[in-house]
Symmetry: C2
Subunit: 230 residues, 2 copies
Amino acid sequence: MSGGLHGKVLEVLGGEIAAGVHAPGSVLRIEQLEERFGISRSVAREVVRTLASIRLVLGRKRVGIVVRPREEWNSFDPMLIRWRLAADRSAELKTLAELRTAVEPVAAAAAADRAKDDHAARLVALAERMVATSRAGDLAAFMDADVEFHRLILTASGNEMFAQLHEVVEELLRWRAGHGLMPVHPRPVAVRLHCEIAECIRAGDRVRAEWAMRELVAEALEGTLEGLES
Amino acid sequence: MSGGLHGKVLEVLGGEIAAGVHAPGSVLRIEQLEERFGISRSVAREVVRTLASIRLVLGRKRVGIVVRPREEWNSFDPMLIRWRLAADRSAELKTLAELRTAVEPVAAAAAADRAKDDHAARLVALAERMVATSRAGDLAAFMDADVEFHRLILTASGNEMFAQLHEVVEELLRWRAGHGLMPVHPRPVAVRLHCEIAECIRAGDRVRAEWAMRELVAEALEGTLEGLES
DNA sequence: CTAAGCAATAAGTATGACTTTTGGCCCTTC
DNA sequence: GAAGGGCCAAAAGTCATACTTATTGCTTAG
């Protein structure tokens, strides 16, 4: 991922495959990669191994490195998500927004059941901070609080898979803000819902927490889809 | 994954890490792996690269291969899911069941919007088959139809991430059946819900499809959690 | 006691040789 | 001429070794 030859080459080649430069079924050859990137066999092979673990490619003897069909790719891999955001931002954002719609309400319900007291307290505090920053028109601070709010719910859900999606939610939130599609003052209804969710989780009311979150993400999805028209 | 030295070693080492044999923060060394498994440097390094791509480990110069904390692991990776099912089946099943609860209702709604006619028709046919096999007491055939039913909805949702979860759902369905916790005849209410879902998707009624699916997965989650007591 | 520099260590990279699998070709056979 | 078996070459897979680079912890000088 970070510096190092492996990371650089991986980034380029993975990005290309994710972008569809190499059609599914087409084959790459290790030697070809060595020449193209001026790298040694070891690095080329390790890059291929990494791509194989994301299920983007499959090495077959006497054939080469074949690009697998998209539906077999491991779409949850963070690297692949990055590459696809770069390649076709709107399609990937749509997919991610829909996933968020599915997960966050259930995560909120779980958090209402399982959140520790200090987590719940922190949630309430964050909701209050959102009220304050919203009134003050401090959008940057509002966004930070929003991101942290959702991250906290996902981790407090006690479900590791939910927790892992906090990066996805953050990406969605920040993208939407960065597109000026959010009004100068966040919508009051959204702020109110955040407060309600925090309160329900603190009170252990899983049903209402889930409902409020469902309302919130429904609105957010709508907004995101509208934003994708441009 | 399959045969080959790489796959074998990966399976063992990955399984160990997932099972907690190597505590987070502990370090492995490439040379150590070479000796232990009687493999060459290349294979050892490629195994480590694969584990690194699942975010189980992180190679650091002058230190070694350090095991990352659980919350950083890529819990959606199919390999890791397998390893965790093997290591702590009930915990992982609980996590997966909860994920399913979140995703399938939204997938059903999306399918109601986007399913092609032939997919919808196939869904209705599968629901009918479930009625028939249920009446006949043919549990194996019922299970196959059930698995295919959910797989079809997830792929028809048009969301690649949802589609990818069909293996998870299949695992859950088959596990529950294989535990005799399912009555000899599937619960009539469940069969009815499958029919309703298929019909709603065919009719393009996203709201009712989502609701019916929510009922279905809620019941399934309850059943799974009960089954996990034993 | 701090900061600069040095040395040992382990991953990372490079290279070349050897092994194994497998897809295609050819040749036989019915 | 279609079907089957066996040979060959190509490409991944594996191995062994040498060399490079970054980093940590120690040592030394200020």
